[in-house]
Subunit: 496 residues, 2 copies
C-alpha cells in the first residue's frame, strides 16, 4: 500500500510539470518535455483490483516490470499515461514494438478504414492488402529476398524459418549464438540460449550454440571492435578491417561446426543483428560476414532475426543485417512491423520458398487485411517522417550522452548499440564485470520509472537497461532520459 | 481469361438478384436472400494483378480455394462481396473464424475506441483489458478452468498447452487422434495427423496417434452412435448409453497406451471436440469421456482443442467438449475468439498453470488491448444476439436439410456435425465409401461458389465440404445454401 500511495503522489506531481524545478543538476528532478495532448480520464478498474485479477486469472508465467507495475491507460506518440494520469516517456515501446509511436493518427485512420471493409478472409481467398504489402516490403529488401510468408508473431516466423532451412538443405543442424532469443515455441525454446527462458524439457535435437561474440563480456574485444558510437572500455590492437576479436570468435564458431556437425553439412545459422533480450549485445565488426561465409561453404542458409532490429531502428540502415554488410537467405521480422498489431513475417528467396510446396501449410490469421494495412502504413510513416534518419541522429546523440555516464558512474560498465537499439550494462565492478546485484539494478530502474521514464531490463544476468523507444523521440526527450538516469544513478551512489 | 469473364457475368447477375427466378426446383438458380447493405466500390488492383503479385511475392505454401479464388473486397455480417461487386453467402467464415459476422458495428466501435487509447503495452505493464477479458472468459468455463495465457494463434496456444502438460506431469508422451489438426509449429506438425499437412522432417518425439474414432469411415459405428441430428447411414445395435463402437475405439486407444507409453505414465491427451480440418468428424458418444478417464488414470492431463468448436458454434453448448460431458484440464481456443483479430488462448487450472513459473515465458503481443477488447465484445455479442441458440436452431435445421440430400444424391455419403459445425462427405460409392474424385468434388464446390455461396473443403481425402458460417445466419440463408448445393449436385449428376 505504501508504494501505491507513492504512485499517487507521483501522479499528482506529474500533472503539474510546470512546478518542477528546471535545473538539470544531478540531483534535481529533471523536467519532462511538454506534450500537446490530453489523455482521457481513466475509468477502468482500480489498480488494486487489476493486480488482484491478474494474479488470479492470468498465467503466473507472466512477469511484470517493477514490483508495482505501471498501469498503462493511454498512449500518444512516445508518451504513455497511467491510470492516475501520470505521464511517462516510453523508452521501451512495448518491448521494441511501438516503432512509429503510440496510436499514430495516420495508422489509426488506415486501420479503421480497413476494419470497416473486412477484418479477416484467410489466404484461401484473395484480398488485395496482403499482395500490396508483400510488394512494398519486398522493395525494402536487398537481393532476391522477395517471397513473404506472414505469421502472427516473431516466434511463429522463426519456427517457420528453421523449418525452411531444414527442408531446403536436407540437413537438420542449426547453429545459433549463446544469449540469443528467438521465441518460445517448443522448437524455439531450444534455440533461445538464455537459461532463464528455458524450461526443463527435452529440446528439439540439432540445435547448437556458438560462443557469444560479445566484445564486452567475452574474452576478446576492445575499443575498436564494435559498430557503435560507444566502444568497449578495453584496450585492443585491432586496426580498421582487421578485428582480432572477430577472428577469435570465428575460431570458436568453427570449432563448434567442425566438431559437432556432420562433415560439411549444416541446415543454417541464425542470429539477431543486435541481441535483444540478450541485452543489446553487438558482435565485432565482420563477425556475421565470416560466419555467413563459413555456413554457406557447408551448404547452410543464413537467417537474420530482425524482430527487434528491423524497420529503421538501427538508424544507419533499414535492416540490422546491413550494418554487418551481409545479405541473408531468410529474414524474420515482427514487433515494429505493424506497431503492435500482432504480425510476423518470413521473407526469403523464391528458391528457398519453393520447399514449402512439399506439403500444405497454413496460418489462419497470417497476412490478414488489418495486419497488412497496418504494416503498409507503418512503412509509409517511417518514410514520411524520416524515422530511420531520426533514429540515427537521436540514437547517436543518446548513445554518446549515455557513454558519458560510463565516465561518471562506476556501475555503468558498458553502453552499446546503434541508433535507437541501446543497452546500458550495470556492474558492481568495472574490472571483474561482476553484474550489479539484482536489487541495485531494480532500485535504479524503479527510480527511473518514478522520474517518468519507462525502460526495459534484460540480458543474461538481468543487469542491462534496455532502451528502445518509439523512433519518433526527440533529442530533448533523449536528454530528459539521460538526466533522469543520472539522477537515479546518483541516488544509487548516495545510498551506497 | 474465360473463367474471369465468367466471374464478370456472375457479378452482373448478382447485382440484380430480383431478376432471378424465385423457383427452387433442383435446376433453377436459387434466389439469394436480400441484404440491406451497400458495399463500397472496389478500387484496388485488378484481379489479374493480384494473382500475379501473389504468385511472385507470397509463399507458394499458400493454397487457395478454387482455381480462380474469390477476391473478397468487403464483408457485412454473413455476406461478402468480391471485387466485381458480386455478393456471396459466407458459409466458411474465414475458416470458422468470423463467428459473429463480418465487421460487426458493435465490435468495430469497441475496437476503434480501444485503438484510440492504446494498441499495445505487453504484459510487462498492466492494462485493464486483459484482466477484464480473462475474468469474463473464465466465467464461461466450468470447473477450475480459470487461468488464462493469451497468445496470437491457436497454434501458439496448442504448442504451449503441450508444454504445460509435459511440465505438469513430468512425462513426455502425448496422445492425439489420427486426422486431427492442431497447428503448424515444428512441434504441432508432429501432432497434426493428416499426411498432406506434414513435411518430411524428423518430428518431436513422444507424439502418438490413436485410431480415429470415426463412426462413418472407421470400422465401427452406425445410426445410433453420434451426437448429431444426422446419423451415420449404417446399421448398429447400440442402445442409449451403450455404444459398442465407442467400446471398440476405446480398445484401440488402450492398445496404443499400453504398448507404446511408459507403464502407467503419460503427459496428456489432446482432441478437437469435432475435428476441423479432418472434415467435421464426430466421435461416438461417450468416447472422449472414457478416453479422459483412461488418460487420467495414468496421471495424464486432458486437453480440449476448441479452436473451431468453441464460442457457441455447436449450439447446444458453449464449448464443444460439453457435448461429450467432460471437463478438460486445459482448453485451447482461437479463431472465433476475436472474430478474426489474431488471438489464441490457453485456459487451465491454477495448479497446472503454476508449472509456468519454473522459468520465464513471454509473448510480445499476447493479451494485447485490442485483442482483449475485441474478444470481450465478441462474448457480449454472442450473448446479446443469442448466437449460440441461433447456431442450434439454424444448424439443426441445416443439418436435417443436408441429411435429405444424402437421400437424394448417391455422392453424398455422410452429413454430420452439430450446430453450425458441419461436414458433407462426398463419395463415389456409398458402399465402399471411396472418396469422390478430386475433380468431381472441385466441380461441385466451384458450382456452389458460382451460385453465390462460399464453403470450405477438407478432410483426410479432401472430399468433405466444410460448412461453418458466421453464427448469425438465418434459416432463409441455410435454405438458400441447401438449394444451391442441390443445384450443384444435380448438375454434377447430369454431367456423369
Amino acid at each position: 500500500m505504501e508504494s501505491l500511495r507513492h504512485i499517487d503522489r507521483l501522479a499528482m506531481r506529474s500533472v503539474s510539470p510546470w512546478l518542477h524545478c528546471a535545473r538539470t543538476s544531478s540531483t534535481s528532478v529533471p523536467r519532462m518535455p511538454d506534450v500537446d495532448f490530453k489523455p482521457q480520464k481513466y475509468k477502468g478498474p482500480s489498480y488494486e483490483d487489476t493486480l488482484k485479477v491478474r494474479k488470479e486469472r492470468l498465467s503466473p508465467a507472466l512477469f511484470h516490470f517493477h514490483q508495482q507495475p505501471v498501469l498503462i491507460h493511454q498512449g500518444h506518440k512516445q508518451w504513455v499515461w497511467d491510470s492516475n494520469g501520470k505521464r511517462y516517456l516510453d523508452m521501451i515501446a512495448g518491448i521494441v514494438t511501438v516503432g512509429v509511436g503510440h496510436c499514430h493518427p495516420k495508422l489509426n485512420d488506415a486501420a479503421f478504414e480497413q476494419m470497416k471493409k473486412v477484418w479477416h478472409t484467410t489466404t484461401v481467398f484473395l484480398n488485395p492488402t496482403v499482395q500490396e504489402y508483400a510488394e512494398k516490403l519486398g522493395s525494402k529488401l536487398p537481393g532476391n529476398l522477395k517471397v513473404c510468408y506472414f505469421t502472427n508473431s516473431g516466434g511463429e516466423a522463426n519456427d517457420l524459418a528453421i523449418m525452411m532451412a531444414r527442408l531446403y538443405t536436407g540437413c537438420y543442424d542449426i547453429v545459433g549464438l549463446r544469449s540469443c532469443y528467438h521465441g518460445m515455441s517448443a522448437l524455439l525454446m531450444g534455440l533461445t540460449a538464455l537459461g532463464n527462458w528455458r524450461f526443463n524439457l527435452p529440446i528439439n535435437s540439432g540445435l547448437h550454440h556458438a560462443m557469444n561474440p560479445d566484445p564486452y563480456r567475452g574474452p576478446w574485444g576492445g575499443k575498436n571492435c564494435r559498430d557503435s558510437p560507444v566502444q568497449v572500455d578495453r584496450q585492443c590492437s585491432c586496426k580498421p578491417n582487421e578485428c582480432k576479436a572477430k577472428d577469435e570468435y570465428i575460431k570458436q564458431l568453427e570449432d563448434l561446426v567442425i566438431t559437432t556437425l556432420p562433415k560439411n553439412r549444416v541446415a543454417g545459422f541464425i542470429a539477431e543483428s543486435i541481441q535483444g533480450a540478450g541485452g543489446a549485445t553487438q558482435f565485432p565488426k565482420g563477425y556475421l560476414k565470416e560466419a555467413y561465409k563459413m555456413i554457406r561453404a557447408r551448404g547452410g542458409v543464413c537467417i537474420a532475426d530482425e524482430v527487434q532490429t528491423g524497420f529503421g531502428r538501427t538508424g544507419e540502415h533499414f535492416w540490422g543485417f546491413e550494418m554487418h554488410d551481409v545479405v541473408p537467405d531468410i529474414v524474420v521480422m515482427a514487433k515494429s512491423i505493424a506497431n503492435g498489431f500482432p504480425m510476423g513475417a518470413v521473407v526469403t528467396t523464391p528458391e528457398i520458398a519453393q520447399v514449402m510446396t512439399q506439403a500444405q501449410h497454413f496460418n489462419t490469421y497470417g497476412g490478414n487485411p488489418i495486419a497488412c494495412t497496418a504494416a503498409s502504413t507503418v512503412l509509409d510513416i517511417i518514410d514520411e517522417e524520416k524515422l530511420q534518419a531520426n533514429s540515427l541522429t537521436v540514437g547517436t546523440h543518446l548513445l554518446r550522452r549515455l557513454g558519458q555516464l560510463r565516465e561518471e558512474f562506476s556501475v555503468v560498465g558498458d553502453v552499446r548499440g546503434k541508433g535507437l537499439m541501446i543497452g546500458v550494462e550495470l556492474v558492481a565492478d568495472k574490472e571483474t564485470k561482476t553484474p550489479l546485484a539484482a536489487e541495485d539494478v531494480a532500485g535504479i530502474w524503479d527510480n527511473v520509472r518514478d522520474l517518468g521514464v519507462l525502460i526495459g531490463k534484460g540480458g543474461l544476468h538481468g543487469n542491462v537497461l534496455r532502451v528502445k523507444p518509439p523512433m519518433c523521440i526527440t533529442k530533448e526527450d533523449a536528454d530528459f532520459f539521460v538526466d533522469v538516469l543520472r539522477v537515479a544513478l546518483t541516488k544509487h551512489k548516495g545510498n551506497k
